[in-house]
């Protein structure tokens, strides 16, 4: 009956390879293939431009509320490119960069945020779950998928994405515990973008890092510079390889910053300083990566201009496609609620139709 210290391994690594000035740590540089690097850049730029366009579309009344991705491109694209098409993802709602990598079309976010459920239908052959708005609910789904993978003895892994706010949800902790106990092939990608709407990271948990949450559940957590795509990619590769070979789960905390609004209905000037934003803008993941690619001669000005041009065309094509869409019958939700509609539902439908007609929105 002594009073003594129980030894655990309180160890959290931090990884940064490419700093905000574009200086690379030569010893840590994974020396990735030029083609892979160019593809990473392409996805990052596409995500950025599409994000900008979506905000404009919302401001012009052409889509509804939209939750931007700006600043989180490295965290999303670095992780998404670490897995293959046979692997799975369970996303939250701010993972547009990841979605583009996985094969969702550029028009899909327009449909989704434009209020058309078609935008949340996973494309054929893509192993992703749809967008999940209930915060952290997707972590349980991701763990469930990983459990199935383990039971089926496949070599696949599942990435599940969440935000710093998501780590305060019960679902997250249940998912973490289950993943640890069953040693499942799942990687928790926490994009710590410093805010859950207006709630700052420091008010989210007293823990020094979010990565250390993994320790309580018996597996490793690593903190990476989430604006450094090389660090993100390296950490993700390691975690994925470990999971694939039966080593169990990992949590990766990508330290990043939400450079834009929480959603287009948000005004961040009410809870953070412009000075803070300016500081983080200097750490923009695209700026440093572009510098790195130029120095490695993977890109030059002409090729960047070509990529920009391509992306502009694709976004235009996506917008045209979206805007030509007729939409569905607004009465549809009533049709698919119940096999046998209840009297209440029928009454509600009639009321809805009368209101739509009265507003001239329906014939």
């Amino acid at each position: 009956m002594p009073r003594k210290t129980v030894e655990i391994e309180p160890r959290v690594e931090y990884l940064s390879i490419l700093d905000e000035h574009g200086v690379v740590d030569a010893a840590l540089d994974p020396r990735l293939d030029g083609d892979l690097l160019a593809r990473m850049f392409r996805y990052m730029l596409a995500t950025r431009r599409l994000d900008e366009r979506l905000i404009n579309l919302q401001r012009q009344g052409r889509i509804g509320t939209y939750g931007p991705t700006r600043g989180q491109e490295a965290a999303q694209i670095g992780t998404a490119m670490s897995i293959g098409p046979e692997d799975w993802t369970a996303q939250a709602f701010r993972e547009m960069g990841m979605m583009l990598v996985r094969g969702w079309g550029m028009h899909m976010p327009m449909f989704f945020w434009g209020g058309h459920e078609e935008g949340n239908v996973v494309p054929e052959g893509v192993n992703d779950l749809p967008i999940a708005v209930p915060v952290s609910s997707q972590t349980l789904h991701g763990v469930g998928i990983a459990w199935a993978m383990k039971l089926r003895k496949t070599n696949n892994v599942c990435l599940t994405y969440l935000g710093d706010g998501g780590t305060s949800e019960g679902d997250f902790h249940e998912a973490m515990n289950f993943a640890g106990v069953y040693s499942l092939p799942v990687v928790f990608i926490v994009q710590n973008n410093q805010f859950a709407i207006s709630h700052p990271r420091r008010m989210q948990t007293r823990s020094k890092t979010l990565a250390q949450k993994a320790l309580a559940y018996g597996f490793n957590g690593i903190q990476v510079d989430g604006n450094d795509i090389l660090a993100v990619y390296v950490a993700a590769r390691e975690a994925v390889e470990k999971a694939r070979s039966g080593g169990g789960p990992t949590l990766i905390e990508c330290v990043t910053y939400r450079l834009s609004v929480h959603t287009t209905a948000d005004d961040p000037t009410k809870y953070r300083s412009e000075e803070e934003v300016r500081q983080w803008e200097k750490r923009d993941p695209l700026i440093r990566f572009k510098k790195y690619l130029m120095e490695r001669n993977v890109l030059d000005d002409a090729s960047v201009a070509g990529v920009e041009e391509d992306i502009r065309g694709q976004i235009k094509e996506a917008v045209d496609y979206y805007e030509a869409y007729e939409g569905v019958d607004p009465v549809d939700p009533f049709r698919y609620c119940l096999a046998e509609p209840s009297a209440e539902l029928v009454a509600q439908q009639r009321e809805f139709e009368a209101a739509m007609r009265a507003e001239g929105l329906m014939r």
Binding site: Q58, G105, V346
Partner: protein
């Protein structure tokens, strides 16, 4: 091509915004997505990017001005804007002809050009997603909001001022609220105006365009049965009231709870009248069928002139009887939608043949559920001919705010005494309900006596 840019619905409950800054001047060449205005809403100050490339030919707002969602901000002369959907019609047509892909299939992908080209090429896509084909129509119709776009200052159709609850009430009762002239402050339409529109008395100054009675909902589910449930004694089934049932229920409660009803009954000997009708029928000639109802209405028109208190409404608030100088008789009929009371106007000015013709027309309209709210308004007296189905006497409920209603039973063959002789007569049973606030039993008896006298001696109709 000019296009108008309106303050979009900036989302999540925003209905208006204040123009903080105008970032372009009239006549400026503007690029697509270039910031043109800064608008502050309840939620945030946001820059509004131009939806089109073109010249900002007119700026309709000033800095500091509060603008509503949907209000025109800027007019552009240029190569077509977001609001000019038809200009893009060819594009989707091409898409749906070639494949008809759903949102999930046609994916402008972010990839290297080679891969992109194969993916974006509709020609080699043989998928036939039928649902998608249905959804992606060849020519997108302009959205309904285009209706307003010709009038920058606001909607073309004047929207009546009315509280939301009153709007809902009007909608539920099939009344076009925008066609009413309100009696409230500043022309506000009140619930009582809507009630008047439903109840018969036309609201003053109502424009001529009548509201359509809403057709039954286009979307039906095979069955409309309510939920099966059970109580202590066995199975039951609940059924929500249809809109028309709700209206009838409300009207009936109002009538019975405000009007002290008295019902008197009497019989009319229609033997002679029926012989007369038989004679007319024998003549044939393909004219309208002269029913006993036509004779009855003719009779009523005459007797209502003689007893004007029965051709009136009771205004309890003003404590007045409102005598109507016109005779508009409502006829309660069992339509496919339930009880409706189309009104036959100026019955006193019609011949029996005219009435018969009019009855035929009304019956036809009711069968086809093809009548306007207007045709149900403005009655001065109501007849309910339940006898067409069956029954002898009844206690009809007055069509509020009228003074009286006549129930007509089924014509019976009865044995009667003619002096000492027993004879066979045709008897029409009548039940008159009246508002005892407006008049008394003696008046009612006199009125009913007259009706019976005319029906029993139809020759009198010729000499009045």
């Amino acid at each position: 091509m000019a296009s108008e840019f309106k303050l979009p619905d900036l989302g999540e409950g925003i209905t208006e915004g204040q123009i903080v800054r105008i970032l372009v001047a009239e006549g400026d060449e503007v690029a697509e997505d270039q910031a043109i205005l800064e608008v502050e809403t309840d939620k945030a100050a946001v820059e509004i990017p131009s939806p089109v490339a073109g010249v900002a030919s007119k700026i309709h707002v000033k800095e500091g001005e509060t603008v509503a969602v949907g209000q025109t901000l800027v007019t552009f002369d240029g190569d077509g804007g977001a609001d000019e959907k038809p200009a893009k019609a060819e594009k989707p047509a091409k898409k749906s002809e070639s494949s008809g892909k759903s949102a999930k299939q046609q994916a402008p992908q972010v990839e290297e050009p080679e891969r992109k080209r194969t993916k974006a090429q509709p020609a080699d896509d043989d998928d036939d997603d039928a649902a998608a084909a249905r959804k992606t129509k060849a020519t997108p119709e302009p959205p309904a909001r285009d209706v307003d776009e010709s009038t920058p200052g606001g909607p073309q159709r004047t929207r009546a001022a009315a509280a939301p609850a009153v709007r809902k009430f009007a909608r539920e009762n099939g009344v076009d609220i925008d066609a009413l002239t309100g009696s409230g402050p500043g022309g506000r339409v009140l619930q009582s105006d809507v009630e008047a529109a439903i109840g018969g008395a036309p609201a003053p100054g109502r424009p001529s365009a009548p509201a359509r009675v809403p057709a039954p909902p286009a979307v039906t589910f095979g069955k409309l049965e309510g939920q099966v449930d059970k109580d202590n004694w066995g199975k039951i089934k609940r059924q929500s009231l249809s809109q028309i049932r709700k209206t009838i229920a409300r009207q009936m409660v109002k009538s019975v709870s405000t009007i002290p009803h008295v019902t008197q009954t009497d019989d009319a000997d229609v033997t002679v009248l029926e012989e007369l009708r038989a004679g007319l029928k024998a003549r044939g000639e393909g004219g309208p069928r002269i029913t006993s109802m036509a004779f009855l209405l003719r009779t009523l028109a005459h007797c209502l002139r003689e007893h004007p208190v029965f051709n009136a409404t009771f205004d309890s608030e003003a404590e007045q009887i409102v005598y109507k100088e016109y005779i508009n008789i409502g006829i309660a009929v069992d339509s496919p939608r339930g009880l409706v009371v189309p009104v036959m106007r100026n019955v006193d000015q019609l011949s029996i043949t005219g009435i018969a013709q009019e009855l035929g027309r009304v019956a036809q309209k009711v069968r086809n559920v093809d009548f306007t709210i207007d045709e149900l308004r403005g009655g001065t007296f109501t007849v309910t001919n339940y006898g067409a189905i069956g029954g002898v006497y009844g206690t009809p409920v007055i069509n509020h705010p009228e003074v009286a209603i006549l129930g007509v039973g089924r014509t019976q063959e009865r044995l009667a005494l003619d002096g000492d002789r027993v004879v066979r007569r045709k008897i029409l049973p009548l039940s008159l309900s009246f508002d005892h606030r407006a008049t008394d039993g003696a008046q009612a008896a006199r009125f009913l006596n007259d009706v019976v006298t005319y029906l029993s001696n139809p020759a009198l109709l010729l000499v009045q």
